[in-house]
């Protein structure tokens, strides 16, 4: 493999006493689409701004092609940014906006004209040269912002939640267009978002951040299927997370005691007596009307929520904890309060070594995730 294009080494960023990025190290490969994913305040935008040069790391180094750049001014970096609010110059036409990077470099007029044309063509906005930014829709502004950033032929393109202001449908369309564009140009894209679905759709690799710490950096598939931390399991996709202790290990098969019953899972590296979290994806959870061997979870059907492609089934366990599963709407609905026995294939449960002590909480699987999703669909 070739040299990484960006290397971030032990980078910290603090504003006063507020540590925003904590000892971040990662490498970004040439030509990849890397997404920084995390909730707001996780340090992803700060990281991006340090790459762009708007912020200086408090400590640590950033290399671009093995050249230390943390002290290089933004205007001397071969990196361009697509801003969250587009940041198009309101007093300039679309042509002047896109040409800006070349104009300040005093490129010849003819070349500017032809390169702007090329860019407009690339983002499918030919014919808009003489408009002003406020005559464009959000999606169109977005395209112009991308064209303006790409005209300098940067080595790396940084995108700061560029689709945040668009409606769901347009957002999905732009996701694929961006991905296409990146493939066509072969430029490294570093993309910041808090939308895990967007990250999964577009990226070659996803860096999940939380509280200024890099939780996991892997391909979308690995991140989704084998989250390394409880945070990742919870943030990417939807999971039921259980808290428990390994009581028996037989080769890789585990018997785990939860606060409200025992379950099965499989994992090679945890040991007997280890405190763990188990994450089970909504689509991997199953229901039985009779007890299943190895599982002693028991609950009642609380509610079915229809969200289009699936039914979300909410099951209330005996201790009050609610768990969720996805079910095809074709499967008949069970009446409320039906006694059910949730279980899963032991290979489908992801076991995460827990950092906490074994204190059982009554409810620790947040229900708000689903409410948000329902809201999104209603829109």
């Amino acid at each position: 493999m070739s040299e990484p294009i960006i290397k971030i080494e032990n980078v910290c960023k603090a504003y006063g006493n507020n540590q925003v990025v904590k000892n971040l190290s990662m490498t970004i490969e040439e030509g990849e689409f890397l997404t920084l994913l995390g909730p707001s305040g996780c340090g992803k935008t700060t990281t991006l701004r340090m790459l762009a040069g708007f912020e200086r790391p408090t400590s640590g180094n950033i290399y671009i092609q093995n050249k230390e750049i943390q002290d290089t001014k933004p205007y001397n970096r071969e990196i361009n940014t697509v801003f969250q609010n587009y940041a198009l110059f309101p007093h300039m036409t679309i042509f002047e906006n896109i040409a800006f990077g070349l104009t300040v470099k005093k490129v010849a007029k003819d070349e500017i004209t032809s390169r702007v044309r090329e860019m407009l063509d690339l983002v499918q906005m030919t014919g808009y040269e003489t408009r002003k930014p406020d005559q464009l829709s959000g999606g169109q502004k977005q395209r112009i912002a991308i064209a303006r950033a790409l005209i300098n032929r940067p080595r790396v393109l940084l995108l700061d939640e560029p689709l945040g202001a668009l409606d769901l449908k347009l957002r999905k369309q732009m996701q694929f267009e961006l991905k296409d564009l990146q493939r066509k140009l072969g430029i490294t894209f570093v993309y910041v978002t808090h939308d895990q679905e967007e990250a999964l759709t577009m990226s070659n690799r996803i860096a999940i951040m939380s509280g200024g710490i890099l939780e996991q950096l892997d391909t979308p598939r690995v991140v989704y299927e084998t989250p390394k931390t409880k945070f990742v399991a919870d943030f990417v996709g939807e999971s039921n997370i259980f808290y428990g202790q390994v009581v028996e290990k037989n080769e890789d098969d585990l018997k785990i005691e939860l606060e409200n019953g025992s379950v099965l899972a499989t994992n090679s590296y945890v040991q007997e007596k280890d405190i763990i979290d188990i994450s089970v994806r909504l689509e991997n959870l199953k229901l039985s009307l009779n007890p299943v061997e190895g599982f002693s979870l028991k609950g009642y059907i609380k509610e079915y929520v229809f969200v289009g492609n699936v039914h979300k089934v909410i099951i209330s366990l005996l201790n009050g904890k609610e768990i969720k599963m996805n079910q095809s709407p074709k499967i008949p609905v069970l009446p409320e309060n039906t006694e059910v026995y949730p279980y899963w294939n032991k290979e489908d449960a992801v076991v995460i070594l827990s950092t906490g002590n074994l204190v059982f909480k009554a409810i620790d699987a947040p229900v708000y995730h689903m409410e948000k999703e329902v809201e999104a669909y209603e829109k």
């Binding site: 708007f54 361009n80 801003f83 609010n85 007093h91 800006f100 990077g101």
Partner: protein, 287 residues
């Protein structure tokens, strides 16, 4: 008509007093000025009935045109100096936190609490031959003869700049504060050094503020006769002095009114240009 709209009493309460004020103190005096500018002078002030264009023609006499020229020059220099002082200052405070902004803007406003005549007299004390500036400069041996800083055009301009600076700061501040900082980041990101970014983005986007500040300083500077009286030792005249002299000294009310109309016409012309360039009238109000 059957469907005549009823006038909402709340509307009357809100708009009524201002309308009455404008009627009594703006519209009626204006009509009065227009009317008497077409009448003949009476020996001891006041007017004689009649109709003549003489006064309007007299406005453009050479001696008056000289004063207009001097007025425009003084107002122009004042405005430019105000821009040069106010722009960096407004730019500086626009970047600060909300509290700092309030404190700085309050500092700008505080001198308004004191009568401007009193403030100008203190300036005379500072600037006169035996004043503090000359004493310091002479004491430190930089100059051997005291500088003539007051009772000449220098004094007038210092006085005007001092009096009008806040009116430049306020519109500039409000337009700079609205400037989206991410635009400057975008500039830098696209390869523009700070100077280029300033010339290509900051300056054009704050142009309405500069224009508004220009209106708020240039126009008053044409008419602030008490500043020229005090700081210019009544040797320097601006249009305001001319008008005042016609009414009070020469007792030629019709000519004074005609000169006023001319000043109003210039003002309207500038404001019209401002509106045409996309300026908004409420920006003129400052913050």
């Amino acid at each position: 008509m059957k469907n005549r709209k009823k006038i909402n009493p709340g509307f009357l309460i809100m708009v009524g007093p201002v309308s009455l004020w404008m009627l009594l103190f703006v519209l009626i005096p204006f009509i009065y000025i227009v009317t008497i500018s077409f009448m003949k002078r009476s020996t001891y002030g006041g007017v004689k009935l009649g109709f003549t264009f003489e006064n309007l023609l007299q406005v453009f006499e050479l001696s008056n045109l000289k004063v207009f020229g001097q007025s425009v020059l003084i107002a122009g220099i004042t405005t430019i100096i105000c821009i040069l002082i106010a722009y960096p200052f407004a730019y500086f405070i626009a970047q600060k936190t909300a509290i700092t902004k309030t404190v700085f803007m309050a500092l700008v406003m505080v001198p308004f609490m004191i009568n401007s005549l009193i403030r100008l007299f203190s300036w005379i004390n500072i600037l006169r031959r035996e004043g503090i500036i000359n004493r310091i400069l002479m004491g430190s041996g930089i100059i051997s003869e005291p500088l003539q800083l007051v009772y000449n055009i220098v004094g007038v301009i210092i006085g005007l700049v001092y009096t009008l600076l806040p009116f430049m700061i306020m519109p500039l501040y409000s337009s700079i504060e609205k400037l989206d900082l991410s635009l400057l980041e975008a500039c830098s990101d696209l390869g523009a050094k700070p100077v280029t970014a300033f010339l290509k983005v900051t300056l054009p986007l704050t142009m309405p503020g500069i224009f508004a500040g220009f209106i708020m300083t240039f126009i008053p500077a044409l008419g602030l006769f008490f500043v020229t009286d005090l700081m210019g030792g009544s040797k320097i005249l601006v249009m305001g002095n001319l008008i005042r002299n016609q009414f009070i000294t020469a007792k030629n009310w019709p000519l004074g009114a005609a000169l006023s109309l001319f000043l109003i016409a210039i003002t309207l012309l500038i404001v019209k240009l401002y509106q045409k360039s996309g300026g908004r009238m409420d920006e003129l109000g400052g913050i």
